[in-house]
Symmetry: C2
Subunit: 275 residues, 2 copies
């Protein structure tokens, strides 16, 4: 999916919601525990109940990996399900990979060829050759960690060198490797004013924004500081949607929670003149 | 395995060799291609042929992940095989993970509980809460990327702030989180003189050193700059050992290549008065 198509999806869905499939086997409603693959069964119901309200799904790979090979199977099935039933969705593997060139190439193969997702999150610590192999796939995206939403973000991302703060260096240097058409950035919502700086340094790139909701960020602030002429935002919500209820009504409640976010996003898009 | 036991293993094996199980399904000798799990069959033969010459095995997770769930199964079987047959070996999952706290906790669960390895490599970009969950497992190790051996290392790891170069900041800050008894560092051999700085900043920690051999580093220089009173080094070699031959004699040739490295290490340990 290219940038234009993504913006069209945002206009069509009237929102820029990414739903995080952080599916914890311990939080799955009792009714699904007897399914042959409870994680996949849960994801199917969540996806069926929310697909018209979001433009992207973002499975967090750690949740699946923690179940070993069986978890990888659930993840593969989930991606295939979205691909086949809702091909208009952007599928993001939140994997935060990154290694020397030939090894990153294998991660790219894992996610783009074997698993067939649209985008992978990548950590920038190892520099150019750790990111570039992901850019060799036309129509796919690499999402580079710039400014994360966690407490530890301040340990290194705010160190100031001649090139600016570390996350600013990442934004500047990585733009030599990729373009707004194949590279996005992770920019956390818990530091919304910082989004302004990110947006100034990367005016055309889509930003994947975690940390709204459970982690405390405000959607309005994210839109104020981060929106550009093609929206340029994918705001992720995981727990607040997929665990909106732990009862038999979990899918309906997930839909309700996603609707609330979509409607707020619709208002923000209208305000910005993008609908 | 604790630090004392690791040093004892080094003295017993008369070397500090870590063999990288970067098992590429396309490079497996023809004789094994018909095995039910060629990757596992290859690993078994390599391990059986080399276990008395090394102190650690380091599967590079990307190689397995690129095969999807089936690759994860091969990896799980490989780790179990080492655990059961050669329990004296340190098993390192070279995974370079790192995410917000609760997600890193799931990666720790994946590797320490589900897969039962001794150590995991972790990227530091996201700071303290991305690393700490791995430190909650007694007897296990986190191996933090400090100075990597690839070309892209210079993009960010050498940015200078008030706290020094970025890799120096990582070395200093991360020592507030873990100790030489549960934390090691990745320090590439392609910049051997830099190892001296790493060693000064982390005198007691074990260093996992990639980049000897195929990537161009010299073992003698690594020992000169990186060795401490408990050796403090695990030097990894992957391709030069496991692909020493692509014929039917691959296991014997791997043994020969590992023997060459072990003998050179023995000389260096003797020189340092550690044997």
């Amino acid at each position: 999916m290219d940038r234009k198509q993504l913006f069209e999806q945002i206009q069509q869905k009237r929102g820029f919601l990414c739903i995080g499939l952080d599916t914890d086997v311990h939080k799955i409603p009792p009714a699904l525990k007897d399914a042959s693959d409870p994680v996949f069964a849960f994801n199917q119901e969540i996806i069926d109940a929310t697909h018209d309200l979001c433009v992207a799904y973002k499975p967090n790979v750690a949740f699946y990996e923690s179940l070993g090979a069986a978890g990888w199977l659930s993840l593969e099935k989930t991606v295939r399900y979205i691909r086949e039933k809702y091909p208009e969705q952007l599928v993001i593997a939140d994997a935060k990979r990154g290694d020397i060139g030939n090894t990153s190439g294998l991660y790219a193969r894992a996610f783009f060829e074997k698993m067939d997702v649209d985008a992978v999150t990548v950590a920038p610590y190892m520099g150019e050759d750790s990111v570039k192999p992901f850019l060799a796939y036309p129509g796919r995206w690499v999402i580079v960690l710039a400014l994360t939403s966690n407490k530890g973000a301040s340990d290194f991302q705010f160190l100031r060198s001649e090139a600016g703060l570390l996350f600013e260096s990442v934004l500047k240097t990585s733009q030599k490797w990729g373009t707004p058409d194949n590279m996005m950035y992770v920019a956390g919502a818990t530091r919304a004013q910082k989004l302004k700086e990110v947006r100034e340094l990367a005016p055309g790139h889509f930003l994947l924004v975690p940390g709204v909701g459970a982690q405390g960020g405000s959607l309005q602030e994210v839109a104020r500081y981060g929106m550009n002429a093609q929206c340029g935002l994918l705001v992720n919500s995981s727990r607040a949607i997929i665990y909106a209820s732990d009862g038999a009504d979990f899918a309906q409640k997930a839909r309700d929670a996603a609707t609330d976010v979509q409607l707020e996003m619709e208002g923000l898009l209208l305000e910005a003149g993008l609908l």
